[in-house]
């Protein structure tokens, strides 16, 4: 494919540079411009991932050893648990998602990343906000609502940070190359747009307008479901829609299915939050609407599943070669599983059993980790070499990371879901005193801690590998780091 070109660029009429090569130079320039901000997002995100692993492990141990570190007020379960969840969501997931969003946007809009200061300062403020928020929770200034615990000062900082990033996003999108708008870009624009509305409204209603009584719970459930289902879902799906075709070389099978999938996603997912309030002190129509919307999401799931299946047909063996495909495929399957569990769990007859148990924690981890985080890992494994200029040093470390994460989160989710069902069934049986319901859950909680240890191992490998990468201790850029060599066109 080499072209005979002299040191001076040849006059156009004599050039035999192919479109593909212009494209490559384009992408090279884009990636070079994106390198700083995206790596900054990833680095801070991975730091928070480590923090969340520590917090999560401590919280998990406290569920079966309540006296563990029991003397410290800032480590009491009621503080360390929200610290864990918020670190995972706002410290790791959001910045990792933003980093991926940035790279995908510049690639899909086919423009170089301009005004990196907006993003860099955005991330700096974001990290200040998250730090302030986590410290605030640990010293007891939580605002008392799930995923919205950060004290107001942290919320304000996060909002400013996000505004900077959103401004950048709008500018990039406006300056995009005219032409076909790829499906991922719809999801990404949606995500950019949805977050400020979500975060702004929720915090406004809770902290400024002080809505009364059960409205607080309604707003909290709405926000939580939308942040994880809609926002993370959008970025995760955008990533999956980009990387599977990219690495396998096969285009997304059907534009029509992708469109239907997107619109049903945008239409139905915002309603899912209220299903959690079934049986609660809210007018009955509110959870009913959530459950009805949940039934409708079967269309989204079916559409996306069929589309991915058709896209990947014949290329499933890529899972053995490409880290990106392996992680992304895991994430895609987790998305589907998470959707199905969500639908089943929303029905009142099931909800009656699973409410107030670890089942909802299992659903949370399915969405945030098994789907979103694994997809982000896949994205990072693809993107980082292109930004740094060298390849991952160790395929075995990637392999260890994958198995630890895959088995770790798989074990955790299965334990949480089953313990939820078991404890719930027990709680539904009035012959069982409450203490026996708790006792029944103990073996599952111990298993959960084991799952955490496994996850921690995986994160350790990932962090080391990433650290080596950004310090440029990597393999030369000629050959991708794969699990097993691939024939044919490269990764």
């Amino acid at each position: 494919m080499s072209v005979a070109v002299t040191t001076k660029p040849a006059p156009l009429e004599a050039a035999t540079v192919s479109l593909a090569e212009i494209d490559q130079v384009d992408r090279a320039l884009i990636d070079a411009s994106a390198s700083g901000p995206v790596l900054f997002f990833y680095t801070t995100a991975i730091t928070w991932l480590l923090a969340s692993t520590v917090f999560g492990l401590i919280a998990s141990i406290k569920l079966h050893q309540p006296e563990f570190l029991g003397g410290w007020s800032f480590l009491t379960y009621g503080r360390i648990r929200p610290a864990y969840v918020d670190t995972l969501v706002y410290g790791w997931a959001c910045p990792a998602g933003m980093g991926t969003l940035i790279w995908l946007m510049v690639r899909l809009c086919r423009v170089s990343l301009r005004r990196p200061a907006l993003l860099v300062f955005g991330n700096i403020f974001w990290n200040i906000g998250v730090t302030a928020g986590i410290v605030g929770i640990l010293i007891g200034q939580s605002q008392g609502h799930e995923l919205l615990e950060f004290p107001s000062y942290a919320v304000a900082i996060l909002f400013i940070a996000y505004s900077l990033m959103a401004v950048w996003g709008v500018a990039v999108f406006q300056s995009r190359r005219p032409g076909h708008v790829y499906i991922s870009l719809w999801y990404l624009v949606g995500a950019l747009f949805w977050f400020p509305w979500l975060y702004g409204t929720a915090n406004l209603m809770l902290s400024v307008l002080h809505v009364r009584g059960v409205m607080q719970a309604i707003v909290t459930c709405w926000f939580g479901a939308n942040l994880i289902g809609l926002w993370m879902g959008a970025i995760g799906l955008a990533s999956i829609y980009y990387f599977i075709p990219k690495v396998t070389g096969r285009p997304v099978a059907s534009y029509h299915l992708a469109t239907i999938g997107f619109w049903t996603f945008a239409l139905f997912y915002p309603w899912l939050g209220s299903a959690r309030l079934a049986g609660g002190p809210v007018p009955v129509w509110i959870p009913t609407l959530g459950i009805a919307a949940s039934i409708m999401t079967i269309v989204t799931l079916a559409t996306i599943t069929v589309n991915f299946a058709m896209t990947m047909r014949g290329s499933y063996n890529m899972v053995y070669h490409s880290p990106t495909i392996r992680f992304t495929f895991y994430g895609a399957v987790a998305f589907i599983v998470s959707g199905i569990i969500g639908i089943i769990g929303s029905f009142r007859s099931v909800g009656r059993i699973t409410q107030f148990t670890m089942f909802s924690s299992g659903e949370l981890h399915l969405g945030v980790y098994a789907f979103f985080s694994m997809t982000m890992f896949g994205a990072i494994y693809y993107i980082a070499p292109r930004l740094v200029g060298c390849e991952w040093l160790s395929a075995s470390m990637i392999r260890m990371h994958f198995w630890a994460s895959a088995y770790g989160i798989g074990l955790m989710i299965i334990l949480l879901l089953i313990s939820g069902l078991a404890q719930g069934a027990s709680m539904d049986n009035i012959a069982q005193p409450f203490t026996s319901v708790i006792d029944m859950g103990q073996p599952y909680m111990r298993g959960n801690t084991i799952a955490w240890v496994v996850l921690a191992v995986g994160h350790a490998f990932f962090t080391v590998n990433f650290l080596l990468m950004i310090l440029r201790f990597g393999k030369p850029a000629g050959q991708a780091t794969l699990f097993a060599p691939m024939e044919g066109d490269g990764h």
Partner: protein, 212 residues
Amino acid sequence: MKTFPAVFAGIFATFAIGWAGAVMIPQFQVGSLEPQVDEDLGDVYPVNIGGIADQGRQVYKSEGCFYCHSQQVRGQYDGTDIERGWGARRTVARDYIYDTTTFLGSMRNGPDLANIGERSKVADWHYRHLYDPRSVTPGSIMPPFRFLFIKRKIQGQRSVDAVNLQGPDAPEPGYEIVPNADAKALVGYLLSLDRSHALKEAPLPPEAKKAK
């Protein structure tokens, strides 16, 4: 949908519909409920209890009690809450209008607390439970809240506040364990939790079988 403005309008509209239906309409319905007033008795429910109970709510929030304890009683076809004695009736929206932070809770690692003030009126039990949960409830996984208590030398007489700790928890002779202001506020709040007053939209059902 080839034109992006149309796509963006769709993104906006779908989310706006969701927001309006899932958040704004409920706000109109339950966002400005007033207490139920019974003219004859001068009976108002719920009452806005300020003071120590409000401070206790802050402590409840700051310690994250709601991550393990719910404060909602489900109806008789939605769960066994009433049969377990966690409330005389299901809770409804009006029960929470004066809860500055409403702790409906979404997990039960411990029993529901919506009516704990009606079930358990003895402050000393709460103090002992906070100090060492397993001394009053074997098998409990509640964390200890010893940092809410002060250990001090007995000055003359044992103070009225001192907690009656037994066994290994009891302090050595000459010392007593006293709850600090946060603990007192928290217990004051817990003792105030009672949503068993009948409401028009939630009358008291006929006596349900109680679980042991």
